[in-house]
Amino acid sequence: MTTTQLEKSDVDLDDFAKATVNAGLTADQKLGFLRDMLRIRRFEQASLKLYQQGKMGGFLHLYIGQESVAVGTCSLLTPDDHCITAYREHGHAIVMGMTMDECMAELLGKATGCSKGKGGSMHFFAPNKNFWGGHGIVAGQTPIGMGIAFALKYRGIPGCCLTYLGDGAVNQGVFHESLNMAALWQLPVVYIIENNGYSMGTSLARSSSIRSCLAERATAYNMDWDIVNGENLYEVRAKTFEAMTRARKEQRPTLLEINTYRYYGHSVADANAKKYRKAEEIEFYKQNHDPIRLWQKQLKVEGVADDEVIAAIDREARQEAENAVKFAEDSPFPELEEIFDDVYYEVDQGTEAGRTGRHFFND
């Protein structure tokens, strides 16, 4: 467990504030980070209520506690850059520009959802915003991110692909295959391990053999790596930007490990959520390491915002989430006939290929 990295209860954000990528931030941009973190948290709190009311099927993997990671990293993306992650993806989706309405409707399985109710909580996508999911199988997205980077390099586009995974995904074979190929072929991919300390109910200490940290494994593939304190938004941005610059300019991959913490269970259905760690541990993080709380404090120190401004931003986020719940609840479910849409492109487009031969086999 890398909590030693996080033991100190007060973070000095100033060092990384001076980094080039942070020094030029406007007050509006800084408030924007707060707004996005609050939007993620309020969205998820609202979704949790719906889940508890039995209005949602399946799983709900909450991101609450980790908001600074998605906001800090995704805030660096340009139109040439891409983002792909696993199933704890609501935060990334929102920062990448997906609306709360389409996301909340997807959670309820509604036709107005981002995937028309066909993906659910783990499978949000917005290719028009360079957001490629939303993937349910642990580490299954890691070679896809490499493939996106491959295509960027193939086309000579100076972008990169931020490819996220959890600390539980680092022991999947396909992730190691991806690290090897990314380094071998010098692909512009930045792998970001969001290390929240637990792969479901198994602590890092019980699941991964490491020397100092997970990211250090990159040395075996001759790849650059770094370890990041995820509660420090400035540090997240500074170190991720460094890795992105390496990818864009030198077409070299990086493995980043961003230490963070989730307040809820692996999913809301995690029956043992309160057994594998103590309530005090969670409370300690909430009190001392909450990224939103820390950022609010920083904004006040910098004179960017006072309590009133912060409260107003939070009110807007809550309202937006509330509106999204209403939108989702008022939306219709998909029609049964729509079950056969979106399976084959050629069928959907009504092309000659789509009209040739039988594609579906019910009666």
């Binding site: 891409h82 792909i84 959802g113 981002c114 995937s115 028309k116 109710g117 066909k118 993906g119 659910g120 499978h123 996508f125 917005a126 290719p127 028009n128 490629w132 999911g133 939303g134 993937h135 349910g136 199988i137 299954g140 890691t142 070679p143 896809i144 991110g145 490499m146 493939g147 996106i148 980077a149 491959f150 295509a151 960027l152 193939y154 086309r155 692909c161 074979g173 396909v174 295959e177 991806s178 090897n180 190929m181 071998l184 849409d341 979106d342 399976v343 084959y344 492109y345 050629e346 959907d348 487009q349 000659e352 290929a353 040739t356 031969g357 039988r358 594609h359 579906f360 086999f361 009666d363």
Partner: protein, 326 residues
């Protein structure tokens, strides 16, 4: 018409599509500098270079996933599996990602991806290298599956597969790579989802895909010569999408169907064909639908036995005779 091998036909299809579209890229183990483990990609690296023809490490899961990601951005990757049996270590990428991402994204993503390689028994390499996963693959809505039996079909189907905007699995056969057949010089495409009557007949329909079609043709020849039975041979060519009408038309003509399938019998492709025939042509049948499949055990190594494990002309003939009440 000129005669070339199945291998050359595939090679030409790849070369022509590489020439035609810069988005086409060949990726796999030994496809470039080694010229392909089975020489399907011979000469392509020399002609198109390392940007277009990419040798991978032995990491099927990793490079299949790479193909999915590259296809997301509009490349048309053609992924070679040295054996389709090796896909089993990358099944997550094929089924969950290539097969389901379009659906789970509500149709916002499409994946113009081809995964190709040989999938056959009969080469004495034991069970691990002899799998025929066309039934598994075709069981995944979102994937398309084709199994060419002749050089002509191999070229036409491969070119169409590369131009298709959905993931297409092309299952070839190492025992067919050296087979020769007529292939025109001029360009042609064969649509997916169109079966082909390889031999006309009136008494019984032999229906199969891949190398089973070749075996069925041999059986048909002998049935005519030795038993005066006129067998029609229908080559499915494409498993999904499936040309049901050609199959049904044949059964309605001959009133008898013997399905020949190198798949194992349990939930094999022929099981789907059998259920379709009984659902839609029951009244046209003069006999139960019968099947000749691979014998239902892992592929045996022992060469003379493996030959017997796959459908043979003898077994097909016997099954036809049984069905004719002979």
């Amino acid at each position: 018409m000129r005669v070339i091998t199945y291998r050359q036909a595939l090679n030409e299809a790849l070369a022509e599509e590489l020439e035609r579209d810069d988005n086409v890229v060949i990726i796999g183990e030994e496809v470039a500098e080694y010229n392909g483990a089975y020489k399907i990609t011979e000469g392509l690296w020399k002609k198109f270079g390392s940007r277009r023809i990419v040798d991978t490490p032995i990491s099927e899961g990793g490079f299949l996933g790479l193909g999915v990601g590259a296809a997301m951005l509009g490349l048309r990757p053609v992924m070679e599996l040295m054996f389709w049996s090796f896909a089993y270590v990358g099944f997550d990428q094929i089924v969950n990602n290539a097969g389901c991402i379009r659906y789970m994204s509500g149709g916002t993503i499409h994946l113009p991806l081809v995964i190709r390689g040989p999938a056959n028994g009969g080469t004495n390499v034991g069970a691990t290298h002899s799998h025929t996963p066309e039934n598994f693959l075709a069981n995944t809505p979102g994937l398309k599956v084709v199994c060419p039996a002749t050089p002509y079909d191999a070229k036409g189907l491969m070119k169409t597969a590369i131009r298709d905007n959905d993931p297409v699995c092309v299952l070839e056969n190492t025992l067919l790579y050296g087979d020769q057949g007529e292939v025109p010089e001029e360009e042609y495409l064969i649509p997916l989802g169109v079966a082909d009557v390889k031999r006309e007949g009136n008494d019984v329909s032999l229906i199969g895909h891949g190398r089973a079609v070749i075996t069925a043709l041999q059986a048909a020849e002998r049935l005519a010569d030795e038993f005066d039975i006129s067998a029609e041979v229908v080559d499915l060519r494409s498993i999904r999408p499936l040309d049901e009408e050609t199959v049904l038309a044949s059964v309605r003509k001959t009133h008898r169907a013997v399905l020949v399938d190198e798949n194992k019998p349990f939930c094999g492709v022929s099981a789907q064909i059998a259920t379709m025939i009984q659902e839609r042509a029951f009244d046209d049948l003069d006999a139960p639908v019968m099947r000749v499949c691979s014998l239902d055990a892992p592929a045996i190594y022992s060469p003379p036995l493996e030959e017997q494990q796959l459908p043979t002309a003898d077994r097909i003939i016997q099954k036809v005779l049984d069905g004719m009440g002979a």
